[in-house]
């Protein structure tokens, strides 16, 4: 690991620890309103001030970090699992199944990703409880975000298909499911990890975009995207620059994820 990657990994670990300990560090519940001090500046009781509804900004930031940093890896895990299954099976079986999977993948890769998300979001109810909106965002990103990974995994599985050890396993009567689980999957594991880590920053940014547009995580539950919705009021932002903290945190986390992944695995 290069020094810069070590620094990035340390920052990520620190932010994750902060996220886990958020419950103990929160000055107040994220939805609690201090109605006598809306739009307050930083103070001892509220280190990042309060928002327009009088809610503690630090509490909302810490809880929002938890939502965004749990949602993106969970969606990345789901999409990587789908990609791993489809890509490995397509690569292992080859033939028409591989052609169909790759054609479907190419097709969906050519479509703008946000348009697809909007179509799916439009089919679901908008007026839902905040927790349901989190689940919807997670499922949408997880179920629609696997295409890029499938191509890479399928190409690698195709390489494994022609290997000697797989031929030996086949000749000794190994069933396809066992071939997949015992022989193909362990060889592709580094690739699965790489695809998982590549997907996380992408999903963090997607969640932010959707929430800013009012189609992601719903109020009063905070997420980084939700917290950035207030940026539209620039005069308020220039008077209270600490409101930019969610954006700074998001940029730092996404940059750290980009740095922490070994270059050769991204190239793969």
């Amino acid at each position: 690991m290069k020094p810069l990657q070590k620094v990035a990994a340390s920052i990520l670990v620190a932010i994750f620890v902060l996220m886990v300990l958020a419950t103990f560090l929160l000055p107040a519940h994220y939805a609690r309103q201090f109605r006598d001090i809306p739009n307050a500046g930083p103070s001892g009781a509220h280190p990042l001030g309060t928002d327009a509804l009088g809610r503690d900004s630090l509490s909302r930031l810490l809880y929002g970090t938890r939502v965004s940093l749990l949602l993106a890896p969970a969606a990345a895990l789901l999409s990587t699992l789908i990609a791993a299954l489809l890509g490995s099976v397509a690569g292992l079986l080859g033939g028409w199944f591989e052609r169909v999977v790759l054609a479907a993948t190419d097709l969906s890769l050519a479509l703008p990703w946000l348009f697809l998300l909007l179509v799916v979001r439009a089919m679901l109810p908008l007026d839902v409880p905040p927790l349901v909106s989190v689940v919807i965002a997670f499922l949408m990103m997880g179920l629609l975000g696997w295409q890029a990974s499938v191509r890479v995994i399928c190409a690698s599985a195709r390489g494994v298909r022609d290997s000697d050890f797989l031929l030996l396993a086949r000749s000794s009567g190994c069933k396809p499911a066992r071939l997949l689980l015992r022989h193909v999957a362990p060889n592709l594991r580094p690739l699965f990890y790489a695809q998982f880590f590549i997907s996380i920053p992408l999903f963090i940014l997607t969640e932010a975009n959707l929430s800013i547009l009012g189609l992601g995580v719903m109020e009063p539950m905070p997420s980084w995207g939700n917290l950035m919705r207030g940026f539209e009021d620039f005069s308020m932002l220039s008077a209270n620059p600490w409101r930019l903290v969610p954006l700074v945190l998001l940029v730092i986390v996404v940059m750290c994820f980009q740095l922490v992944l070994p270059t050769q695995e991204v190239a793969q």
Partner: protein, 296 residues
Amino acid sequence: MTATNTSANLLRLGLRRLLFLVCLGLAGALVSATLVRFAPGYGVEERELDPRWNASSVEALRQKQALHQGLPSFYFHYLLALAHGDLGESDSLKRPVRDLLRQRLPVTASSVVRGLGVAWLAAALLASLGIASRGWFFAASTTAFNSLLLSLPSAVVAMLAVHLRTPVFCAIAVVVFPRLYSYIRNLLVRSYDQPHVLAARARGLGSLAIFFRHVLPLAAPPLLALLGVSFAISFGAAIPIEALCDSPGMGQLAWQAALSRDLPLIVNVTLVVSLVMLAANSLANLAGRTFAGSVP
């Protein structure tokens, strides 16, 4: 003989792509029709709940809806209307989808084309400068800047564009630029490191001659493929940018349709955008193959 074969192959490929696009359009239309047909609330008119309408009027409305309730009849009428260019009516805006698309598509197309032009120019220029200078400071600073731009959500770029009063195409360029720059830079570095380019340099060939004769033919096919992909990226970026910059384009239309759960509108917008994207990708691929075929 070889040139004739190459042209025939390209023609065959072009026709195959066209057939693929037609089939895809048909499949997309059927999927769109299915989504509209099975969406919650299909066949229910809001006017049915209006107490000012009497029973016979409500019944007449229901009869009108019932006309296409059978599945085969629904698909038949949908495809028939589509063949005549009728994409249905928007539930929320109460206007024909075709008129809305005709009004909005040129706005987005103009922003996307201008944004892509600026992004490509900036990315190619910066990547070439990086190759020419080969200094660590330039490489480190451009990588850091690029990484910063890649880490910004498109919606935040759009809000910045609103505050700075910059046109929509500038925001699209800012979103697309970092993705283009990193790819173009890596491609040029790889092309310049090829043995035949090193040999040409050792023989004392000028920089321009090396670029146009040895580097560009190598880099052109993947760059043309990237052009197709960059269309998809910029159309995707157009949604938050047009929505937040209040630009009356396809992105804003899609966003409004999603917010008002207007399925006939959103699926048709997506269908049209998808077909435009696929046509752009196919053209870029064909151009890449033509270029690769013309290089000896």
